[in-house]
Symmetry: C2
Subunit: 333 residues, 2 copies
DNA sequence: ATGAAAGCGCTAACAC
DNA sequence: GTGTTAGCGCTTTCAT
């Protein structure tokens, strides 16, 4: 026996037929205790492990789900993936990850093709960015899918973090402190607009405040530094809402380098509640997003889709404001 | 045709035999241009996609590798996984991730079993922590494996970041600044000792400096705060080397809360060069670890093992010291 | 309760 | 070059 033992090796060793071994394995039908014991002993002796490939081939019930993501290492992405993985593992699913780094059509196609080639029970797409959006569009309709993201959408099962509501609440908090308006630094959005920007604008409009143009940062926290310096140079800027904590940290550094203090001169708020946010100086006011929970909820929706359960297809959760020391009332003029 | 089209649907549609379609697919043998075109048209029409399960079953050349990791979201882990994934994808491999959260025997077994059930070309294990070490011990010998880690080891192919050398260099730097000794805060080690601790101790010993007991932190950056406060209370402490940047940030916060300044009163250095390290106040002296590169190198070694190439089985890289502003000469007494 | 036979979708081996 | 035949490791009939 050169390679791994197969089911027929087990059958031979136990002195039973192959289907009987299969029955023991799957528990699908009754097997007499005596034979069951023989089979189990043979399995243990041989170190036998069933082949998922052969199983998926014949039973058409793959136990693998694919996660498609534009990134795996940034905080929100990594935590969401972790949440999916934990929920999936708990229910006996294996997880496969495909990274689609750009929305470039060729790259998306290649990645999707490679993934869909696998026997998949379903797919979870992190629709956080343009690659995610592009990937979602390519998944064939007959495969169960769930989208995870910050922006609500109609057609597919989707788990959402209501970023717009949270951003609105945060902006209102800033306005309530007495700021005449709030400036906004965006992280790269998944589409023309994103929930954080939408909520921010909504709060400003409702309060009748000026809506200054949003400033675009990249995902690199360092991109916030120059933006912070520029913001510091504008005396109209008293409060800044950043698209994520990392950018906020860059912006704060830029503001500090320009000689202003936070929050005395300018209030800065972030988004995500990165584990380092509370350790920052000053500790960062932000919005706690339960990414791992998003992942878990997403997996549940995917399971519903896989099982054909006609259960809920949507799940929304409202992120929670975390007030710390980087925001305060504007200084009197 | 209820489900997905199969290779025989394609063959029927193109008016050729099944193996001919297979030959077009794999490029393994010559097919006349005419038939090739027919086949390609049929594939496109049907939206046919070969089944990786069936392929792996018969060809015994799976194109999937598994990554086994104790965590997916912490910086070093996430970056390493990203590096493996990118390298693997570039060579046509799909990546599957298994998380083993604890070294608990049952959990490790379950996770490994579930993974090995898949048709796998090979496995990459992140041997950063006890779960990784435990998992590594469970991989059957006939499966290509690579270990990625900070500590050199003999028997398996392994890609390494020479943390001991880097930690030694960093400690020497601190000693060279005039500190009588350097205190050390450890992150949870993968075994009794880890490279960072080893390098630190080696430098101290060689310099004839005191070797204070190492203090243990958890992975949570907040665990550093209390440690920082305690360290600040000890007047003998003038320099602290932390096992990673996040802990260093917690420690710095604790020291600052205790009323001391960095680096004037106490120098603090980290490890990893987290993207936020240079934005911290003061910017953190640390060691840049190329985790993504570690992942890439690891994948190459794994490929060697898979292909049976008798190429190198080890790859070491020396992390690079990054001097910033959190370390300085001790203040004169 | 159990075995024999069939077949999942594909590639390998062998004719021609 | 191309078709025919076999068979990967397993589950699913269908007998018994």
């Amino acid at each position: 026996m050169a390679g791994n033992p197969t089911i027929s090796d087990v059958a031979a060793r136990a002195g039973v037929s192959v289907p009987t071994v299969s029955r023991v394995l799957t528990g699908a039908a009754k097997v007499s205790p005596a034979k069951r014991e023989l089979v189990e002993a043979a399995i243990a002796d041989l170190g036998y492990r069933p082949s998922a490939a052969a199983r998926a081939l014949v039973s058409r019930k793959p136990q693998t789900i694919a996660i498609i993501a534009g990134n795996t290492s940034r905080y929100g992405y990594a935590e969401t993936i972790r949440g999916i993985e934990i929920a999936a593992r708990a229910e006996g699913y294996t997880v496969m990850i495909t990274v689609v780094e750009s929305a470039d059509e060729d790259e998306v196609d290649r990645a999707i093709e490679a993934t869909l080639t696998q026997p998949l029970a379903g797919v979870a797409v992190l629709k956080f960015d343009p690659p995610g959006v592009a990937a979602l569009g390519k998944i064939p309709g007959n495969l169960p899918v769930v989208a995870l993201s910050g922006v609500r959408e109609a057609s597919l099962p989707q788990a959402v973090l209501d970023e717009a509501a949270a951003a609105e609440e945060l902006t209102e908090h800033l306005l309530g402190l007495g700021h005449r308006t709030v400036h906004h630094v965006r992280v790269p959005p998944s589409r023309r607009t994103d929930g954080r920007t939408t909520g921010w604008r909504r709060a400003l409009r409702r309060a009748g405040a000026d809506v200054p143009p949003a400033v675009d940062a990249t995902w690199d926290p360092r991109s916030g530094v120059a933006i912070g310096r520029a913001l510091a140079a504008d005396p109209a800027v008293t409060a800044v809402f950043c698209g994520n904590d990392e950018i906020a940290m860059g912006v704060m550094r830029g503001i500090t380098e320009a000689g202003l203090r936070i929050p005395a001169d300018i209030s800065v708020a972030g988004f995500d509640d990165n584990p380092l946010a509370e350790l920052w100086s000053p500790p960062l006011t932000t919005v706690e997003q339960d990414f791992a929970g998003l992942g878990r909820r997403g997996f549940q929706l995917l399971r519903n889709a896989i099982d054909g359960t006609d259960a809920r297809r949507h799940s929304t959760e409202r992120p929670r404001l975390v007030l710390r020391e980087s925001t305060a009332a504007p200084k009197p003029r």
